[in-house]
Structures are given as structure tokens and as C-alpha cells.
């Protein structure tokens, strides 16, 4: 039911058109310019984390939100990207090469997971990703060149604005890409796969290939988000980067905001960062539990997500206002 409603919502609401895309581009540019606009570092940090979780959420949305194949590996894919970028920079690769390495390693990992599980239906894929998430942590903890359980640090000191601007560009670019994809013919075919894979094959859709391409794109985005975050954090700890919590947040953000929409993960990221920030001073470490409960509430009472619920409420409000205006105009009020 949730899958069906999500797809319904996608076809109804994602066709936002050019004004929405322009607004997203302007918002991204504004957010990226915050370091030069005299905004406090606290506000910039909040904006950064919102963009980070938005990018991870869009990466999850791109694969799992659109196809219904639930991934628990996006935290690990971001972790792989972070390690690849930092290792490459420490080896004195140029920035473009480091980002390319992050992208390539995450895509390679997704190919390994996808090639073995995407021919099967959703559950097999979900278990494969969960297994991969745990395996990645074990491997990174064992390897010498990743620093083992102690992790590693970025030896080069980068300007603070660089990873910040990178993350904003990734968040904005990913959101615009998801919006464009959902409005395209390929987007319709992806949603058809989510609806009924057998019927999709009967109309000529190569579901396995399309899912694999989407998963690679999704993993590449997660890898780049991880790379930017690795440069931002400058210290990598495997137990933090490969914690299943990161994958859960990547999943929770679009689920809270609304899956298979471009705006949903933005709403989800704002809600998540807000909750995390409030609880950090009141009850540190409790935010994952609260987000879990929120997720449960959204699934039970608002299963199209917060963004869609707000959109509907605004539309209802406008409808009531419009009717009232009409009554006044007719002299009936």
C-alpha cells in the first residue's frame, strides 16, 4: 500500500516543472554562498548537515524510493567514498582524481551487490545490502591501508568552504536530477517496475538493467556525498562511518519527507537535523530512537510523507480560502 501510494504521489506531484527546478537551483546557490554572507558557523554547520543527509536521502531515493528495492547499504557506500577520497588525497592525487576514485569505488561496490541480487526480487536485495553494510565495516577495520579500527586522517588541510560548497552542489544537483528523472519517460518506466515487474517486462522494459543502472547512479552519489563528508570531517573512524545508523538515516530522510519525490528528502532532512539538534542538548544519543518513532508515526498516519502531507494541507487551505472568497464575491457571506 505504501509503495503504491508513493508511486501515485510521484506521478501526481513530481511534475513540478521549470519554476520548481529554478527555485531549487537558486536555493542551492544561496546555501552554497552562506560562508560569504556573514552567517554564523553554527547555522552553516546545520545547513551542511541538512545538505549531507539530503544528498544521502536522494541517493537512497534514486534507487529504493523509485524502484521499491530497499537498500541498507547507503551508509557503507558513503563510507567507501570517504575512504577512497581521503586515501587518494593523502597519496597526493588531485581533487578531481580523488572524487573520481570515490565515485568509482562506490559504483564498483554497487555492481558487486547489484549483479548478485538484482535479478531476484526486493527481499533478496535488501538482505544483500544489509550483509554488505556489515561486511564493509569488518573489512575496513581489518585493512592496514585504511588505518584499521583506529581509522585515518586527511593529511592535507583544505579550505573549510570547499567540502561545504561541494556538499551543497551535490544536494542541489541530486534533487534536480531526481525531479528531472521522475518527469521523464525513463522515470515512468522505473515507476512501472515498482508497480509490477512482470507487466513491465511484458511491455519491453529491461527491469534488471534499469535497476542496476539506477543502483550504480545511487551508489555513485552516495560515494560522492561520503567523499565530501570525509573532506569536511578530515578524520575517518570506521565504526562511525560504517555504522548502520548512517544507512538508517539515508532511509529515514526520504521516508519521513516522502519517497519517490524530489522535495520529500529535503523535508525529511530538515526534520531529521532539527530533531537531532534539539535532542543533542536534552538527550544526547536518543535522536536515532526518536527518529525511529517518528518514522513509525509517519508510516502509520502519514504514509505519503511529511512533504506531501504539508502540500495537501496547503492545497486544502487554499481551496477553503478560494471557496470563501467566492462566497464573499457572490454576497453570500
Amino acid at each position: 500500500m505504501i509503495r503504491e501510494r508513493a508511486t501515485t504521489r510521484a506521478t501526481r506531484t513530481v511534475r513540478s516543472g521549470l519554476p520548481g527546478l529554478l527555485a531549487a537551483a537558486v536555493l542551492t546557490a544561496l546555501a552554497a554562498a552562506l560562508p560569504w554572507l556573514g552567517v554564523s558557523s553554527y547555522a552553516r554547520t546545520l545547513a551542511y548537515y541538512t545538505a549531507y543527509f539530503l544528498t544521502l536521502g536522494q541517493a537512497w531515493n534514486l534507487m529504493s524510493g523509485l524502484t521499491g528495492y530497499v537498500s541498507f547499504a547507503h551508509g557503507a557506500l558513503a563510507g567507501i567514498g570517504a575512504y577512497a577520497a581521503v586515501i587518494a588525497l593523502n597519496a597526493e592525487w588531485p581533487m578531481a582524481g580523488a572524487l573520481g576514485a570515490a565515485l568509482a569505488t562506490a559504483v564498483l561496490a554497487s555492481l558487486v551487490i547489484g549483479a548478485t541480487s538484482l535479478r531476484l526480487r526486493g527481499t533478496a536485495f535488501t538482505f544483500a545490502t544489509l550483509f554488505f553494510q556489515e561486511l564493509a565495516l569488518l573489512v575496513v577495520r581489518k585493512l592496514r591501508f585504511t588505518g584499521g579500527p583506529g581509522g585515518m586522517v586527511l593529511s592535507e588541510i583544505l579550505p573549510v568552504w570547499l567540502p561545504y560548497v561541494m556538499m551543497m552542489a551535490l544536494a542541489g544537483g541530486a534533487s534536480i536530477a531526481v525531479a528531472l528523472l521522475c518527469r521523464s519517460r525513463v522515470g515512468v518506466r522505473i515507476l512501472a517496475i515498482k508497480n509490477d515487474e512482470v507487466a513491465a517486462a511484458a511491455v519491453g522494459i529491461d527491469a534488471t538493467r534499469l535497476k542496476l543502472v539506477l543502483f550504480c547512479a545511487s551508489a555513485g552519489l552516495a560515494g560522492l556525498a561520503g567523499a565530501a563528508h570525509g573532506l569536511f570531517a578530515a578524520s575517518l573512524y570506521p565504526d562511525v562511518l560504517f555504522s548502520v545508523d548512517v544507512s538508517l538515516v539515508a532511509l529515514a530522510v526520504p521516508l519521513i519527507g516522502g519517497v519517490a519525490t524530489a522535495a520529500g528528502p529535503l523535508a525529511g532532512a530538515v526534520v531529521y537535523v532539527g530533531i537531532r539538534e534539539v535532542l543533542q542538548s536534552i538527550a544526547p544519543g536518543l535522536h536515532v530512537t526518536i527518529v525511529g518513532l517518528l518514522l513509525l508515526g509517519v508510516v502509520m498516519f502519514m504514509n505519503e510523507g511529511v512533504a506531501v502531507a504539508i502540500g495537501r494541507a496547503v492545497a486544502r487551505g487554499r481551496g477553503r480560502g478560494g471557496r470563501k472568497d467566492a462566497r464573499v464575491a457572490a454576497g453570500g457571506d
Binding site: 501510494r5 501515485t8 519517460r185 515512468v188 507487466a199
Partner: protein, 238 residues
């Protein structure tokens, strides 16, 4: 010219023979009726032709090309369109998007895809519901939507699996008239339980029982075939 040529198709499920060495040929522009009692193997034969699963024996040729080992999506791209016994629309997509989701075969005309999809919807009488969700349609409309979706692949062979099931007699009559009119653009194989309604519009009919073909011929020959009467039509055909 033969559009479909299936030879010796066989399928077994856990020791049970569903289709047992069936030969089936369909000529260009032909409407072939495929009849038989429940469990005769008609839908399994359909699935073997459409590529839903591979056969245990035999081969399938489409316009002379061997497609026996090709997956379903490749067969659709080569021009096999199909509907399902139990309708399988993309319920959460709009009616128009259901048709736009199809990947047209090489035989499809170039041009505006949306206009072509709307033309198909007009053809099946659903243009007025183009922007409604497929999940909001009645069964009769869904059956027509599935036909439009199958036609969107620009098929040279259209497989219709019990298109009249669950329809009112008025809806069934309308759909049969529409199916008859499709012969101009594609060859058709139609599985149907309602022999009385479906047989008259067929050019030729094949009757199956227990996984094998027991009769084949023109509608008049089928009606008069004693084995068919015994196995399937019974006294109702008298």
C-alpha cells in the same frame, strides 16, 4: 507468411505436464482462438510464447527468428504484446503513463509518443480518462487499457489472455468488436473460456485438453468436432 511458429513446446511443473509437445502457427493478420477447459495449458502456452518462463522442450520462432531463449522484455521489443488473465495494470500510474511506459518495437511509427499514446487511448475509448489513475478504473476499462498498453509496443503478434473474463455481456460485446477490428494491424491469439461469444470472430481455432492440442480448424469444424464436444463444449454446443 507465418508470424508465429511454435514447435513441440513442452513445460512441466514438478512432474505435472502443463504443455505437452504443442505446435502452434499463426499467419499474418490472423485471429486465432485458443480454447480448452481449465487446466488445459492455454495460459502456460501463452507464457511460453511471451517468454514469462523458458520451455522444457521445443522452440518458438517469431517471423522466422528463433526467440526460444529470449527473455520477455526482448520478445516484447521484437513485437509480442500481451495482456494477462488477471489484469496487471500499473495501478499507481495514470492511464496515459501506463501506455507511455511501453517500449515500442522497431515496427512503431516515429513521431510524438504522447500523441500516439493518446491515439491508442482514443482507439480503446479511454481518452477521456487519460489522466486518471489506472487503479481507479473499472475492470472493463482495465481490460481495454491492457490492450492499449500491449498495442503500444507496436506488436506483430498480440496475445490476449481471457479478455472477456469478468465483463458484463455489453462490455464483452464491445471488446470483441474492438478485438476483431485489430486484425488490420496485428495477428492475434486469444485465449477465451466463452467459446460461444469468441469463436464467431476467430479465423481459426485450436482446442487444448490436458496440455495437448485435440482439435484445430475453422470455427465451423471446431463446433462439429466430436472430440471437442466431448472434452469441452459438451451439450451446450448441440
Amino acid at each position: 507468411m507465418r508470424v508465429l511458429d511454435a514447435e513441440g513446446l513442452a513445460k512441466h511443473f514438478r512432474g505435472v505436464t502443463a504443455v505437452n509437445g504443442v505446435d502452434l502457427a499463426v499467419a499474418e493478420g490472423e485471429l486465432l482462438g485458443l480454447f480448452g477447459p481449465n487446466g488445459a495449458g492455454k495460459t502456460t502456452l501463452f507464457n511460453l510464447i511471451a517468454g514469462a518462463f523458458p520451455p522444457d522442450g521445443g522452440r518458438v520462432r517469431l517471423k522466422g527468428r528463433d526467440i526460444t531463449r529470449l527473455p520477455a522484455f526482448r520478445r516484447a521489443r521484437l513485437g509480442i504484446g500481451r495482456t494477462f488473465q488477471v489484469v496487471r495494470p500499473f495501478r499507481a500510474l495514470s492511464v496515459l503513463d501506463n501506455v507511455l511506459a511501453s517500449v515500442p518495437s522497431a515496427a512503431a511509427a516515429d513521431g510524438d509518443d504522447t500523441e500516439a499514446a493518446l491515439a491508442l487511448l482514443r482507439h480503446v475509448g479511454l481518452a477521456a480518462r487519460a489522466h486518471a489513475l489506472a487503479g481507479e478504473l473499472t475492470l472493463g476499462m482495465l481490460k481495454r487499457l491492457e490492450v492499449a498498453r500491449a498495442l503500444a509496443v507496436a506488436p506483430c503478434l498480440l496475445l490476449l489472455d481471457e479478455p472477456l473474463a469478468g465483463l458484463t455481456s455489453r462490455e464483452a460485446g464491445e471488446l470483441l468488436g474492438f478485438i476483431g477490428s485489430l486484425r488490420e494491424r496485428t495477428s492475434i491469439v486469444m485465449v477465451e473460456h466463452n467459446v460461444r461469444l469468441a469463436l464467431p470472430i476467430c479465423d481459426r481455432a485450436v482446442v487444448m485438453d490436458a496440455g495437448s492440442v485435440i482439435a484445430e480448424g475453422a470455427p465451423a469444424e471446431i463446433r462439429a468436432n466430436p472430440e471437442v464436444i466431448r472434452a469441452y463444449l459438451g451439450e451446450a454446443a448441440e
